[in-house]
């Protein structure tokens, strides 16, 4: 017995030494919280958190499940299920908890949060919890945006506050049972919030800054025409001592820096963000003295045209940065091998408008959705609402499938997350081709 246990320990240590820092990473999204286990191999489903539209289907916000495994031809690119949450709440972002089982999804208007369990039937997520006390719990935070899994808890960024519905806001933590833990207000004069991303090995968290409820719930054309409203956008990225949850440095990043993506490779101590209003790629880089520096490293299209860069996705090898610009519905792919000098290597028109982009960890597939905010989306024939899947070969994007969310009477598709049968079934499969078939 002693020999057997010792052997197991020895093997465990050997295996750890073998694989440390070089664990093969093959699928899932590159932007997931690093604290959660990833799905590996081909994703079977894309979960799309979708805003309801009055008069379209049931008109409610909903979590839509789309088939994404080409081995399952009958459901590939098709709507498999949808779960409505009754009413329109400005459905926006969502994120899995630390076991990658429970998907938390937020509404930016009334600050409600819904938790879906995807494990019992990954093709049909179930609503298992509603948190409707976010504003009260957090002492006045409004607009739950990013959901970032931490061990044993969920970190949620706010966009606004209940006092004046402006941009001053906070980070809020809940435990996995939906019980409030703490509120961390962003520091003046960098009080606006948007995204939060942690680099575990550096103990550093970055938060970016957008705008408050008054602006994001108002028609975009009115906001742009209102000089006073345009003053109320964030211009900062805050660096935090993550473990202490303390803001330690404020970086000037003018023009609403939105999504933050840390580089994923060892020794790459930097992150990218894009400034929506100034249309620039920013590099947030750790210096030799441990502090961080923000550098404007590239224009995105012609900033004078206000192309409005929105979501970004960084490939797992830190080579390609996919940048969506909402106004021209285009994805631009930059080679960021030298992070100080991004090179535009591919441009693809996705639709009349485009917002979210998610690349798979294996770098082979890229998914796009169209909606930004209910009152910011285009109107008339330009109000295309879709999920589109593309293949990526390192040089160009090639269309795989598209789902028309208006034709399907679903609404405005926003954030995407991936699902997979075998991850949740706790089963072992013998290869890449057979998992879905074996699961049924």
């Amino acid at each position: 017995m002693a020999r057997r246990v010792s052997f197991s320990l020895m093997v465990g240590a050997a295996l750890a030494a073998l694989l440390s820092g070089a664990i093969p990473a093959r699928a899932d999204e590159t932007c997931m919280s690093p604290y959660m286990p990833k799905i590996t191999g081909q994703e079977d489903y894309v979960y799309v958190w979708t805003l309801g539209i009055e008069g379209v289907g049931d008109g409610s916000d909903k979590l839509v499940t789309i088939g994404a495994n080409p081995a399952d031809a009958a459901r590939y690119g098709k709507v498999i299920s949808s779960v409505s949450v009754a009413g329109r709440h400005e459905a926006h972002h969502a994120g899995f908890g630390d076991d990658r089982r429970h998907l938390w999804a937020g509404g930016l208007d009334d600050s409600k949060i819904w938790v879906f369990d995807v494990a019992p039937d990954p093709a049909r997520p179930k609503l298992v919890r509603t948190v409707d006390s976010f504003v009260k719990d957090s002492d006045g935070v409004v607009g739950p945006h990013t959901f970032f899994a931490l061990p044993g808890r969920m970190l949620i960024t706010g966009l606004s506050n209940a006092k004046d519905h402006g941009g001053k806001t906070a980070l809020v933590e809940y435990n996995n049972d939906g019980k409030f833990i703490q509120t961390l207000w962003l520091p003046d004069p960098a009080a606006y919030g948007y995204d939060a991303r942690v680099q575990p090995r550096l103990n550093r968290m970055l938060t970016s800054s957008f705008t408050g409820w008054n602006n994001y719930m108002t028609d975009l054309r009115k906001v742009i025409a209102d000089a006073e409203a345009m003053k109320h956008f964030g211009n900062t990225v805050v660096v935090w001592d993550f473990h202490a949850r303390k803001a330690i440095q404020t970086l000037e990043v003018p023009g609403a820096p939105l999504e933050i993506r840390w580089a994923l490779q060892p020794r790459h101590n930097y992150a990218f963000t894009t400034a929506a209003l100034k249309s620039k790629i920013w590099l947030i880089e750790q210096q030799d003295d441990g502090t961080f520096k923000a550098s404007d490293v590239a224009d995105i299209a012609n900033p004078m045209d206000v192309p409005l860069p929105v979501d970004i996705s960084l490939s797992a090898d830190d080579r390609f940065l996919f940048v969506d610009t909402f106004m021209d519905g285009t994805c631009r792919v930059y080679d960021v091998s030298d992070p100080h000098q991004p090179k535009l290597v591919h441009t693809e028109k996705i639709g009349s408008q485009v917002n979210m982009v998610s690349e798979t960890w294996d770098g082979k597939r890229v998914y796009f959705t169209s909606s930004l905010l209910a009152n910011w989306d285009k109107t008339g024939k330009d109000n295309e609402q879709f999920l589109k899947a593309y293949g990526w070969d390192g040089k160009q994007l090639t269309a795989l499938f598209a789902v028309d969310f208006l034709k399907e009477k679903l609404g405005r598709p926003h954030i995407m997350h991936f699902g997979q049968e075998r991850f949740y079934k706790n089963q072992i499969y013998a290869g890449e081709a057979g998992p879905l078939a074996a699961a049924r």
């Binding site: 465990g12 664990i23 604290y35 044993g152 833990i181 103990n203 550093r204 202490a244 303390k246 089963q427």
Partner: protein
């Protein structure tokens, strides 16, 4: 990378054979057997903040649960922790997951030595390693694990009588564990589990949860010292 994977596959197959598990494991890609984390082989590249310079707000409160100690005697979680600060970890002894139980045990081993060398910590801290594999991790096997680690501090090893007794304990701690099965339903002998280690204060409140990307002995020691400073500040 291919060489690493082949070697890892060979090692896993050897483990499976040693553990008497299904020979079918030999044919399986190691990536299918374990969770994969983006953070990979986590190695902190920072100095933790000074103890007491930050707070650890309570995350949850756990209740008492029946256990069997490594000598086979009935006990409970609270009987082991005795109102002390506690670091509680759930493992199974045949785990082969790179970012799983071997890592948990290695960190607790380091903690054990560090705590034993610190008079205040040694007086105030208990380490508890609990198996979530009651079928195979009998008290006798936990005793072997104990003798292997030869605790220098108050490090307890425990298991439970059955899965029925275990389930509410895991649920209370929010510790996901599932048997990894072949497509025909047969158990592979392995578990799918998210590595978690829990820091409890003297009132059985969870004050931190460490998983891949956060589990590091230096960081846990910093948190323990933070809780000691907090206890010293609070009235009574």
């Amino acid at each position: 990378m291919r060489g690493h994977r082949l070697l890892a596959a060979a090692v896993l197959a050897a483990v499976a054979a040693r553990a008497g598990d299904d020979a079918r494991l030999r044919a399986v890609d190691p990536a299918e057997l374990t969770y994969t984390y983006a953070v990979g082989g986590f190695a902190p590249e920072y100095t933790p903040p000074a103890p007491g310079s930050y707070t650890l707000p309570p995350i949850a409160t756990v209740t008492d649960h029946a256990l069997l100690d490594a000598d086979g005697r009935p006990t409970t979680l609270f009987a082991l922790t005795r109102g002390r600060l506690a670091v509680v970890a759930f493992v199974y002894t045949t785990c082969i997951e790179v970012t799983g139980c071997p890592l948990s045990l290695a960190v607790l081993h380091r903690l054990d030595r560090a705590i034993a060398g610190d008079r205040e910590l040694a007086r105030r801290v208990t380490l508890v390693t609990i198996s979530f594999d009651p079928e195979r991790d009998t008290p006798a096997r936990m005793a072997v694990m104990r003798s292997f680690h030869a605790p220098a501090s108050d490090w307890r090893f425990a298991t439970t009588r059955s899965e029925t007794e275990l389930a509410p304990l895991l649920a209370d701690f929010d510790q996901p564990v599932a048997k990894l099965r072949f497509a025909d339903g047969a158990w592979s002998g392995l578990f799918r589990h998210v590595l978690k280690v829990f820091l409890l204060d003297g009132e059985s409140r969870v004050r931190n949860v460490y998983s891949v990307g956060l589990l590091d002995a230096t960081l846990v020691l910093t948190d323990l010292r933070t809780l000691l400073i907090e206890a010293g500040r609070s009235p009574g």
